[in-house]
């Protein structure tokens, strides 16, 4: 059991991801207020993206922009991938952040329409008013 904890402690990013993921998941499912549910959804999606980017991190790695001397260096084929952060997760994260905001926009539109129809943001009152 000990080596599990020790392995987990070597990865602080994974612990932070698990805490955020469970927190977002719990709030998204269990909180009665619709807007708080959406905040939980936002946290859940951000935690998945957080894990995705921390995988791409390399110790002492610069941002993946080949400027000036690196540009010249890359002409002569000596780019050493170890000293640049891994660009692929950044691309996936960019896409996922924009998907997250798009889903947020649609869900807030639904919340506004529900409020306009039923006048409350609390799930239990809404269910009562629907019957």
């Amino acid at each position: 059991m000990l080596e599990h904890i020790e392995a987990a402690l070597q990865r602080p990013n994974f612990i932070a991801f698990v805490v955020l993921f469970l927190w977002g998941f719990f709030i998204m499912v269990a909180h009665p207020n619709l807007v708080k549910k959406l905040i939980g959804m936002y946290l859940l999606q951000t935690s998945v993206i957080f894990l995705l980017v921390t995988i791409s991190a390399k110790a002492e790695a610069a941002a993946p922009i080949l400027q000036g001397s690196d540009a010249v260096q890359s002409e002569r084929h000596q780019i050493d991938p170890a000293d640049y952060a891994n660009p692929l997760p950044h691309v996936l994260t960019l896409t996922a952040i924009v998907v997250q905001v798009a889903t947020l926009g649609v869900s807030l539109a639904l919340v506004t329409a529900i409020y306009r129809q039923y006048g409350s943001l609390d799930e239990d009152q809404l269910l009562k008013r629907i019957e």
């Binding site: 922009i65 400027q67 960019l94 924009v98 798009a102 926009g105 539109a109 506004t112 306009r116």
Partner: protein, 150 residues
């Protein structure tokens, strides 16, 4: 719900800020290939400057009217992106393969790809700016201010 903001400090500050934001957005958009930023960040900042304009100067002021005009062009950004991608299909290349776009005075493949990336960034920026405006305007629509966009 959007009515003109009354305090003069906010109005003068935003009158100074809005052109600055737009200038910086264009910088971020066009220099997205040399430094951080790009289509997504530039587009949202363009949208944000117009949103700031409508929130501060009210629905009758210039930024809001411009925004209302822009809203109807919600497919243009995507048409630019898919259009450039589709142009690569001519002459048998794969979809979105910028290297066989026939640009007259450009010969090397990498330069064609560079220009392809630039144009698609503009498409993405236009699309995300218009959608940000679209969502803000429809979210801020209340029962009384009836105006329909279809």
């Amino acid at each position: 719900m959007i009515h003109a903001h009354d305090s003069t400090i906010v109005r003068t500050m935003s009158r100074l800020l809005i052109p600055l934001i737009q200038l910086f957005a264009l910088y971020v958009l066009f220099f997205g290939q040399y430094g951080p930023g790009g289509g997504f960040a530039g587009g949202v900042m363009l949208g944000a400057s117009l949103i700031l304009g409508t929130l501060v100067f009210g629905p009758e002021a210039a930024p809001c009217l411009l925004a209302k005009k822009l809203i109807h062009g919600d497919g243009i950004g995507l048409m630019i992106f898919a259009g450039v991608g589709g142009l690569c299909l001519i002459g048998g290349g794969e979809f979105l393969n910028y290297s066989n776009l026939e640009i007259p005075w450009v010969d090397t493949d990498s330069r064609r790809r560079y220009l392809g990336i630039l144009v698609t960034q503009i498409g993405v920026a236009v699309d995300i700016a218009v959608t940000a405006l679209l969502i803000v305007f429809s979210l801020s629509l209340t029962n009384n201010s009836e105006e329909s966009h279809a």
